[in-house]
């Protein structure tokens, strides 16, 4: 059982996950309880929400996120996400959500062919999702971006639908760092519960180690959302 203030948020470690500790730290910073989940374990330990962290799950072999999708933990997560459990996929986690068909489109090699690590300016364009409710519409934030295969692509119909339904979570400003269509940096499902984000809010929670603290609202948002009764 979860209490109102005891938001329990799982962080899945796949072989090759790299930012799992960072995601857990961000959850703790925001006041939540971070629960370690293991890819090979279908049991989610009763968590209220899940973060799929950045990294190179299964070495990104075959295609980024393609193998992780079939992990036992993911089978449970996909089922529960369809029933409303909040999930945030960051970077490789976003790729896994796309491979799992929880979010539309695909993420491909950066258009300039290089891995890129930079402090990226974004505009928040959805403040109704459970992961972004603590932002104001149009907020401009700077958080780290680091990817080799972060170019978001989808067909025109899908892109138009995402725009029409207000499901573009955040858009790149100033520089499109990877060739993403329509500068899309993140998106959310129709229910506002499953979100994918290419940049890394978990690396922007302390001014000491990040370019800003602009990443915090993603984590306070989910805790507030859970407190307000969004439960799977």
């Amino acid at each position: 059982m979860t209490t109102l203030l005891g938001a329990r948020i799982g962080v899945v470690t796949f072989p090759g996950s790299l930012d799992d500790r960072d995601a857990a730290r961000a959850i703790r910073f925001a006041g939540g309880e971070a629960v370690e989940l293991w890819h090979a374990d279908a049991d989610l330990k009763g968590v209220d929400a899940v973060v799929l962290p950045g990294g190179f799950s299964y070495g990104d072999y075959l295609r980024c996120g393609a193998i992780a999708r079939f992990a036992p933990a993911m089978q449970t997560i996909i089922d529960r996400a369809r029933q409303g459990m909040p999930v945030l996929g960051i970077c490789n986690g976003f790729q896994i959500l796309v491979e799992s068909h929880l979010l539309p489109g695909a993420l491909i090699r950066n258009d300039h062919q290089h891995f890129v690590c930079r402090d990226q300016r974004l505009r928040i364009e959805n403040t109704t999702s459970v992961w972004t409710r603590d932002f104001d519409f149009g907020d401009e934030i700077v958080i780290p971006l680091k990817n080799g295969e972060g170019g978001y692509v989808a067909d025109e119909h899908t892109l138009d639908m995402l725009e029409a339904e207000g499901r573009v979570l955040a858009r790149y400003l100033e520089v499109n760092p990877n060739g993403s269509y329509r500068d899309i940096a993140g998106l959310v499902n129709a229910q506002g519960t499953v979100a994918g984000l290419m940049p890394h809010p978990e690396h922007a929670i302390e001014s000491l180690t990040g370019p800003s603290t602009d990443g915090r609202p993603f984590f306070t948002s989910i805790i507030a959302s859970l407190a307000a009764g969004v439960r799977a």
């Binding site: 072989p15 090759g16 790299l18 930012d19 500790r21 960072d22 730290r25 950045g54 990294g55 190179f56 299964y58 070495g59 990104d60 072999y61 290089h114 891995f115 890129v116 690590c117 930079r118 780290p144 680091k146 080799g148 890394h200 978990e202 690396h203 000491l208 180690t209 990040g210």
Partner: protein, 777 residues
């Protein structure tokens, strides 16, 4: 056909062996025969040849490297000294740090991506095998001229390899160097440094102790990587239609390495392991002989148990294979089951390949035949040691006499020339922004990076509760080392020491990667001997012991050696990373001070190199006592909150340092040239023991007192000012101010009676355009 075993070897003493093709000299081969009282088997020959190679045995450098131990300063900080995989330093609060830098120069020239990638992988395993969690990497890199065709082949591949491996491994890349010089055109330098942290009780050593303990090989399977040299043996034992060519370059798999890190830390923390060793150069030969030699003294290995990715490999090749991402652990029998379970959890293959014995012999069996039976110490530690002849080059005097004086090397004399020079220097390949490189490295992963490039040193938080952290910097000016190798090594040490101190960390220990030409060239050997002597003397003076390092010889194209390049890495500790000093200045009105004395010193400078392509003269004086005082000021100022920013003054002098600080902060400043110095000398001389510090006005008295008490020169040279342009617009006529957007300016007063101004936009454009213009072309 059967393998060459010890029985056969004993009965066929006249059997010819290709030892010369394996790099062994006649006397070395005879020594092996003397040790064994028979000819070696082909497997033994393979082991000795690789373990007695320059790369593994340090046979040419050993007699010099001893100075690092002989001249070791007294310190309580060393927990593990030279000789292990990497030295270990106590940083307080129960934490220890290990760090080391290694070269991967030759493989990176042959195959830039894999060469650089496996360089990172190798140094990370070294750190891991001490029991530490790797927490950061950095890469000192040197290439030929930026616009050389081969640089455009090698550099992008090396950068992609460093990034591709390190990023996938999840280690932040926090610093390093990118240097261009024609001497590296046919021999780039790819050095890789790794830092690891651990609690004192987690320190592990590479030794096989305890009779009956099992020898477990885990990680990747063994393939034909990096055994090009042994193919002469393979061709002896293989049928004619067997695989003819073996690749000499290894291929890395960072995903496997990531699993290996997590798996290794878990077995270590579970207390299951007696000793541990990584497999790098010389693979199983090295790991088994070193583990046995350092432990109880004997080991029995069943080589046919080694899991192979290529079943056609001969035993000699398996012994020599440099397949990446492998480790060897010594595990008590009662722990083996648990050890295997942890490996299974991480999908890491683990195989029991042997047992620790008290026979004093390393015995290796292959399908029931004994193919190796040797005293392990003779392989691992008692290799040949050479006193290579060396002498001061005949050209050294002429080089030192060729001083860059004003009458011989024209200097800019007018304000207009100096204004143009600043823009040129900001974009000179060696001074230009390296963002094209470092933006391909993940500096954020692990969430503990406090400072990363282009800051003076990389800094990571070690303890999230207390804020304890470490800073690391690497430096070397090969041009200065060529002018005088003894001074050059001390110059590199001084700069790395200063770069650590500038951030507020206290320098504790030194590692090095000594990149030189052929040791068989007496002039190169002299450069090496002098550099080692200089570094050892310098470390004694500064009180920072050498904890380990690496020597890379034969860096030359034909008979022309690279600039002598003793890369020095310094590690420092800071009690609370929250108090680190960054290089970006902040507040209007903060005072800009130059610490130290500026002399007319241009030999080996970036100006002489960039503008005149000149190298000659006596290098800038190195005064380590002064460096030490400067370090005390920088550390005390950081601790007591006297600085809002600080930056090392080195390549490109004071002017380049100011440009970098202004661009990092995006805030302008007004600087004035002191009356008693020539503007050009003030701007571009490369005198040592200097730094720029930015002092809040209310700290000025305390700061000045601190410097005066230590007798250290502190000159007020400017003030942070974001309003220079706004004030100018407001003061100008109405039509001029109409619609003008105020720019951030860097202003230099008192330049031959004139005032020079640059917008930060034009400086940034000059600084950032250079690498992309060439590398994106």
């Amino acid at each position: 056909m059967s393998v060459d075993n010890v029985t056969t070897a004993a009965t066929t003493p006249e059997h010819p062996q290709p030892y010369r093709d394996l790099g062994l000299r006649d006397d070395e081969y005879q020594r092996i025969r003397d040790i064994l009282s028979r000819r070696p088997t082909s497997s033994e020959l393979a082991m000795y040849s690789v373990m007695w190679s320059e790369h593994c045995s340090y046979k040419s450098s050993k007699v010099h490297l001893r100075q690092f131990g002989d001249k070791k300063p007294h310190t309580d900080a060393m927990l593990v000294g030279i000789g292990e995989n990497a030295g270990v330093v106590d940083i307080g609060q129960g934490w220890a740090v290990t760090f080391k830098v290694e070269s991967h120069n030759h493989p990176s020239y042959v195959e830039p991506y894999q060469g650089a990638a496996t360089g990172v992988g190798g140094i990370v395993r070294d750190i891991m095998s001490m029991g530490a969690r790797p927490v950061a990497v950095m890469d000192p890199l040197r290439f030929g001229p930026l616009d050389a065709a081969d640089t455009r082949r090698v550099l992008p591949g090396v950068i992609a390899g460093v990034g591709g491996y390190g990023n996938c491994l999840g280690l932040p890349n926090i610093g390093g160097e990118v240097v261009f010089d024609p001497s590296y055109a046919g021999n780039p330098l790819v050095n890789a440094l790794c830092v690891g942290t651990m609690k004192h009780e987690d320190i592990h050593l590479a030794k096989a102790s305890g009779i009956g303990n099992r020898v477990i090989l885990y990680g990747a399977t063994t393939g034909g990587d990096g055994i090009g040299g042994v193919s002469v043996l393979a061709s002896e034992t293989f049928d004619a239609d067997g695989p003819a060519k073996r690749p000499s370059v290894q291929v890395g798999d960072p995903f496997m390495e990531k699993l290996l890190i997590e798996c290794t830390l878990e077995v270590l923390h579970a207390g299951l392991v007696e000793g541990i060793q990584d497999l790098g150069g010389a693979g199983i030969s090295c790991a088994t002989s070193e583990l046995a030699s350092n432990g109880t003294g004997g080991m029995h290995v069943w080589l046919d148990r080694v899991p192979l990715r290529d079943p056609s490999l001969s035993p000699e090749e398996i012994l020599m294979s440099e397949s990446q991402e492998r480790m060897c652990a010594i595990v008590p029998p009662e722990n083996v089951e648990q050890f295997m379970a942890i490996c299974r959890k991480w999908d890491v293959i683990a195989t029991d390949i042997g047992v620790v014995t008290d026979t004093g012999r390393l015995i290796i069996e292959w399908k029931g035949e004994t193919i190796v039976d040797v005293p392990p110490r003779t392989v691992a530690h008692d290799g040949p040691v050479y006193q290579r002849p060396y002498h001061r080059p005949a050209w050294q005097d002429a080089l030192q006499a060729d001083a860059p004086t004003a009458d011989r090397l024209p200097r800019p004399t007018t304000a207009a020339e100096l204004r143009a020079l600043v823009l040129r220097m900001a974009g000179a390949p060696n001074l230009a922004s390296k963002a094209w490189v470092t933006d391909q490295y993940d500096r954020y992963v692990m969430g503990n990076t406090v400072l990363a490039q282009p800051e003076d040193s990389g800094m990571v938080r070690v303890d999230e509760e207390t804020g304890l952290g470490v800073a690391v910097a690497t430096d070397c000016n090969g041009r200065v080392a060529k002018l005088d190798p003894y001074t050059g090594a001390r110059f590199a040490l001084a700069e790395a020491y200063r770069n650590v101190a500038v951030t507020g960390a206290k320098p504790l220990a030194v590692t090095n990667c000594l990149n030189f030409g052929s040791p068989e060239d007496p002039e190169v050997m002299w450069q090496f001997a002098e550099a080692v002597r200089g570094l050892a003397d310098g470390c004694l003076e500064l009180g920072t012991p050498v904890t380990g390092g690496n020597v890379s010889f034969y860096n030359q194209t034909g008979t022309v050696a690279i600039l002598p390049t003793p890369v020095v890495g310094v590690l420092g500790v800071i009690d609370d990373v929250d108090r680190r000093t960054p290089m970006a200045w902040g507040e209007d009105g903060d005072l800009i001070y130059l610490l130290g004395d500026t002399r007319d010193e241009f030999a080996g400078s970036e100006w002489a190199h960039e503008v005149h392509g000149h190298l000659g003269g006596m290098p800038p004086a190195v005064d380590l006592a002064k460096e030490r005082v400067l370090g005390e000021i920088l550390i005390a100022g950081s601790r007591d909150g006297m600085f809002n920013a600080a930056h090392d003054v080195s390549d490109g002098g004071v002017m380049q340092a100011l440009v970098e600080m202004a661009l990092r902060s995006n805030v302008g400043a007004r600087i004035w040239v002191p009356d008693d110095v020539d503007p050009f000398v003030f701007m571009y001389a490369e005198s040592t023991a200097r730094a720029i510090v930015v002092v809040p006005r209310d700290e000025e008295t305390r700061f000045a007192g601190m410097c005066a008490m230590r007798g250290f020169t502190a000159s007020r040279i400017g003030v942070v000012d974001s309003r220079l342009d706004i004030d100018a617009i407001e003061a100008s006529t109405e039509e001029a101010s109409n619609g003008a957007v105020p720019a951030q300016l860097l202003q230099l007063d008192n330049v031959h009676g004139e005032t020079l101004r640059w917008t930060l936009d034009e400086l940034r454009a000059a600084h950032t355009a250079t690498l992309p213009a060439v590398l994106n072309a």
